[in-house]
């Protein structure tokens, strides 16, 4: 069997073994690991010497499965590519299908999509920030943020019928219109979330323990971040002003002001702080979207969706998720099923390649922080 350099079959003994260097399996069954992914760490004491990413345990064959399902049937599978932030997947896929078909969702649908995307971003950030707290042993902050996230899920439940997997977008729009009173509930919620921020700051961002642990950890220079394909908040944390919502606006973002700011610095602390800045901006964007949301249709009439045929062609559609650019490359041969769907997960480069450079030299307990601050999501790797 051919294995590239750095990948081995899992031998229990490291080459230099005389009980000084040993293999440590960090994951898949570890509280600091996200999902069914793992690093095999070669340790010297508590210090990492080498790392081997151990992917493949999550493999549910998303991309291959999509080739065997009809265009709309895939929508029940797609949100599962990213559990905390499922909507960018749905929107990216639907936008790709719409692009191949040469149609555009109605304006109201695009606004609803944007609101849903921003709410999803808030939920994901809360989980991400809570994850940083959890990785550092600060569980209170995680519990508090989960409580806030639950309030977002309540609103998702009311709009889409589902709390975690919304399965809400379809080619040509969304499945249901906004229910009466929902807009006000969202506004009340974002007010509440903004009010909670000072407490989060006190617990997390102004916490000296957090500062000590995060400062200077795994620094990414702007150049390194760009060349290695880092995107989204992590790229902005390295000082690069890049955001799909601004650079290639989709949904309703071309009609809405999006102010992106960079925390700069590039280390784990900068990345954590960047998430907080983006979180606040997402709250503002939701207010702007809801103020401008137009009346009209929320979906196009595409006939019997089950037998939807997409003309032959291909399209790449990208969406700014909470982790950065989420891309779907969709190829159709004119049939009732996709010929090929390829997912571009934003955290793949960090999780799979950059770890080789940055993890050696870290302590064991920093691995969970690496995972949390770079928002490494195993389905981005295993899809």
């Amino acid at each position: 069997m051919y294995l590239p350099d750095g990948y081995t079959t899992l031998t229990k003994r490291a080459p230099k073994d005389d009980r000084e260097v040993y293999d440590l399996f960090f994951g898949p069954n570890h509280p600091g690991m996200h999902g069914n992914f793992g690093y095999v760490l070669e340790m010297e004491g508590t210090q990492i010497v080498r790392v081997r990413p151990n992917a493949g345990m999550l493999h549910r064959g998303f991309e291959k499965s999509m080739e065997n399902k009809r265009w709309v049937q895939n929508l029940s599978l797609i949100p599962r590519v990213c559990v905390p932030d499922p909507d960018p997947n749905e929107v990216a896929y639907c936008q790709a299908v719409e692009a191949i078909m040469g149609i555009e969702a109605p304006r109201r649908a695009r606004y609803i999509r944007s609101v849903v995307l921003e709410l999803s971003r808030l939920g994901s950030f809360l989980m991400g920030m809570g994850g940083v707290g959890g990785a550092l042993g600060h569980y209170s902050i995680m519990y508090l943020m989960m409580e806030s996230r639950d309030r977002i899920l309540d609103l998702f439940e009311e709009l889409t019928g589902g709390r975690v997997y919304h399965i809400y977008n379809i080619p040509g729009g969304v499945r249901r219109d906004i229910p009466p009173g929902w807009k006000q509930k969202v506004l009340d919620l974002v007010d509440h979330l903004e009010k909670r921020l000072p407490e989060y700051d006190r617990l997390l961002y102004e916490n000296p323990v957090v500062h000590t642990r995060l400062q200077g950890l795994a620094p990414l220079s702007a150049e390194e971040a760009i060349t290695s394909g880092i995107v989204g908040p992590n790229l902005r944390a390295s000082g690069v002003k890049a955001d799909v919502r601004v650079d290639a606006p989709y949904a309703a973002y071309d009609e809405i002001e999006v102010n992106i700011e960079c925390s700069g610095g590039g280390d784990a602390l900068a990345r954590a702080v960047q998430v907080r800045m983006d979180y606040l901006e997402a709250i503002r964007i939701i207010r702007r979207l809801l103020a401008k949301i137009p009346d009209g249709d929320f979906k196009l009439d595409l006939g019997n969706l089950m037998k939807l045929k997409v003309p032959a062609g291909d399209a790449y559609s990208k969406v700014e998720s909470s982790k950065g650019e989420f891309g779907y490359y969709v190829v159709s041969n004119g049939g009732m099923k996709p010929y090929r769907v390829s997912v571009r997960g934003p955290s793949l480069p960090a999780g799979l390649y950059l770890c080789h450079k940055h993890l050696p030299g870290m302590k064991i307990d920093d691995v969970a922080v690496w995972m949390a601050t770079l928002a490494i999501c195993p389905p981005d790797i295993d899809r």
């Binding site: 439940e157 399965i167 102004e206 009439d301 939807l308």
Partner: protein
């Protein structure tokens, strides 16, 4: 981010948290009341609920389910005894697979399926339900949804939100002003775009297949149309129907009345789709499909004579020749087609469409002897001697009279005879004012044909159609009635004819009275009339179109006795065999006047005859695979 100011008292600030309201709730002491009432939101996708009274068992939920969680379970009912608009099946959901996406709800054509706010499901423990372990594991998650969660319905199926297309593609027609001027075909036929849009609507449930007398594989050929493979589509049609272009125009489309979409919207235009496929398939492809087995068929040496080249005769001839028989059809008219050519006006079925299909049947090796009437040009005795078996498919060629007073006048005519004469190109005596008696499609045909002739001769239409049945009960197709109205025909339904008014040997009008009801409580024909409410429709010609009958006059009395024909009724065995074993019947004689029934009969009679000759050697017809 700046670090917070620290002081001696900072640690004590945490004591303030004691006075804060907690974020968590103690259930069930405190209500979780997020959505205005306890429980999930009004849009929640929880456990399924299914109104079994409304569910039609079409299986669309099962088809759309992305996790294959839904399977259709047989209800055990007899397929032939239940309402033809549904299948004897109901969905069963495996909650071990269900992902609660509600695609099934959004695709449900009848709207019976919905999801509820209920999401807690507990199964009985093994101790309580001591089933065999494996069975228990399966039963634990597999539930047949019924009205259990009916009161907590949340994600419901609505026409506007459904993923289905409930609206038909428009079919373009000639305007009434234009079409009444000639016998030009009214309907234009679907364009490619329209056909594809219409084919996309089909759910492929197959409820239609059971109702179609010929059991045509409708979902399969619609799918082939959707895949733009017209050759494949026509190939599927020819398995059960050698006259698809005819049926694509004049079929009574019983399939459409049971279409799953008809419960909340317009049914699929199955008839027009069929017509689109046959009309647009290339000539060489049609020939290849229709005669695909010709080169490999071995003759079995049996000679079959078929009397009548109507739909039943042609269908029987086509399938018999496909089985290796040598078939000859005897037709008394100068052209083949029977009622299809000499009964149905050409604005509904133009000759070109009919000729194209008959030529395929001839290409299979069927010989059609025209202008050859059995009994006159060909003696029955000779026919019996020359052939191994005979199929009588003479149909209903004669009209029935109302037998009211004074119908013996030469200007009181039978519709069927007149339609015959029009199609044969004979000179027709067209009057300025005409009254037609009858509410069926033949009445519509003659009324609309005469309207065209009147328009041509006098420049105006003056025809009154009267029937026993009220407008709602009239057996004619609604579209025929509506189109007739547009062409200037006046309808006076719910009236019973009393007598033809005659002065100086000339027809002056038709006297009618009010008809209160046509059928009695048991559904038998027994009209009740009120003779006090009378009216008279002025007319110089009266046409009777109240029904047709079989005609066995080509047989001598002795032969009729041998065939058990008494008072115009032929006795047949179960199936299509008569009292004389080698003589079969098919078509209107067996099942009444209807083209698709006749085609189905022709096919079945052919199969039955083959079984009679050789035992059950035929392989059953195979369904073409969908994908």
């Amino acid at each position: 981010m700046a670090l917070g100011d620290k002081s001696f008292f900072t640690p004590f600030s945490t004591l303030l948290n004691i006075f804060k309201k907690t974020l968590t709730v103690a259930y069930p002491k405190e209500d979780i009341n997020v959505h205005g009432r306890p429980g999930a939101s009004d849009n929640y996708r929880g456990m399924h609920t299914n109104d079994l009274e409304v569910c039609i068992g079409c299986g669309t939920c099962s088809d759309v389910c992305p996790t294959a969680a839904i399977v259709m379970q047989d209800t055990g009912e007899d397929e032939n005894e239940i309402d033809p608009t549904r299948k004897p099946e109901q969905p069963v959901i495996d909650y071990g697979r269900c992902c609660f996406c509600a695609f099934c709800v959004d695709s449900c054509p009848s709207g019976s399926l919905s999801m509820s706010r209920d999401y807690i499901y507990t199964s009985p423990s093994i101790e309580e339900e001591p089933l065999a372990e494996l069975e228990w594991k399966v039963n634990k998650f597999t539930i047949k949804p019924d009205a259990n969660h009916e009161e907590e319905k949340s994600w419901i199926s609505e026409v506007d939100l459904a993923w289905l297309d409930y609206v038909r593609s428009d079919m373009e027609h000639h305007s009434p002003e234009k079409r009444v001027q000639s016998f030009i075909e009214i309907v234009h036929g679907f364009s490619r775009q329209q056909a594809l849009k219409e084919a996309q609507r089909c759910l492929e449930c197959g409820i239609c297949t059971r109702t179609c007398p010929a059991h045509m594989h409708i979902p399969e050929y619609i799918r082939a149309i959707y895949d733009e493979d017209l050759k494949k589509s026509v190939n599927i049609m020819y398995e059960t129907n050698p006259l698809p272009a005819v049926c694509g125009r004049i079929c009574t489309h019983k399939c459409e009345t049971v279409c799953a979409l008809s419960h909340r919207g317009e049914p699929i235009a199955i008839r027009w789709l069929k017509r689109y496929a046959v009309d647009n398939v290339k000539d060489e492809d049609l020939r290849e499909v229709a005669t695909k087995n010709k080169d490999v068929i071995k003759s079995n040496g049996k000679k079959i004579g078929i009397i009548g080249s109507g739909p039943a005769g042609l269908a029987a001839a086509y399938y018999l020749s496909g089985m290796g028989y040598q078939v000859t059809i005897y037709e008394k008219h100068p052209k083949a087609g029977g009622t299809m050519r000499y009964g149905i006006p050409s604005y509904r079925l133009p000759d070109e469409a009919l000729d194209r299909e008959i030529s395929q049947i001839e290409a299979m090796g069927v010989e059609i002897k025209l202008n050859c009437e059995v009994g006159q040009d060909k003696k029955w005795k000779d026919l019996k001697q020359e052939t191994d078996a005979i199929i009588i498919a003479t149909g209903f060629p004669t009209g029935r009279s109302t037998r009211i007073d004074k119908t013996n006048n030469p200007n009181v005519r039978l519709a069927i005879t007149m339609l015959n004469e029009i199609r044969l190109g004979k000179e027709i005596d067209v009057h300025r004012k005409i009254a037609v008696i009858g509410g069926g499609n033949v009445a519509m045909d003659i009324a609309r044909s005469m309207a065209r002739l009147q328009k041509d001769k006098f420049g105006e239409v003056d025809i009154t159609v009267t029937s026993l049945e009220s407008r709602e009960e009239m057996p004619a197709d609604d579209e025929e009635i509506e189109e007739g109205k547009e062409e200037g025909i006046v309808f006076k339904p719910g009236r019973s004819p009393l007598e033809v008014k005659i002065e100086d040997e000339k027809v002056r009008g038709l006297e009618v009275c009010r008809c209160l009801s046509v059928f009695d409580e048991n559904g038998r024909f027994s009209p009740k009339v009120d003779k006090n409410i009378r009216e008279c429709f002025p007319a110089t010609m009266v046409i009777e179109a109240i029904g047709q009958a079989a005609d066995y006059s080509f047989l001598t009395e002795n032969e009729q006795n041998l065939l058990n024909i008494h008072r115009g009724t032929l006795m047949i065995k179960d199936g299509y065999q008569t009292g004389m074993e080698n003589i079969f019947v098919a078509g209107d004689i067996v099942n009444g006047p209807d083209v698709i029934h006749a085609i189905a009969d022709g096919h079945k009679a052919a199969q039955e005859m083959d079984t009679w000759f050789f035992g059950k050697r035929n392989l059953p017809l195979k369904k073409a695979p969908l994908e």
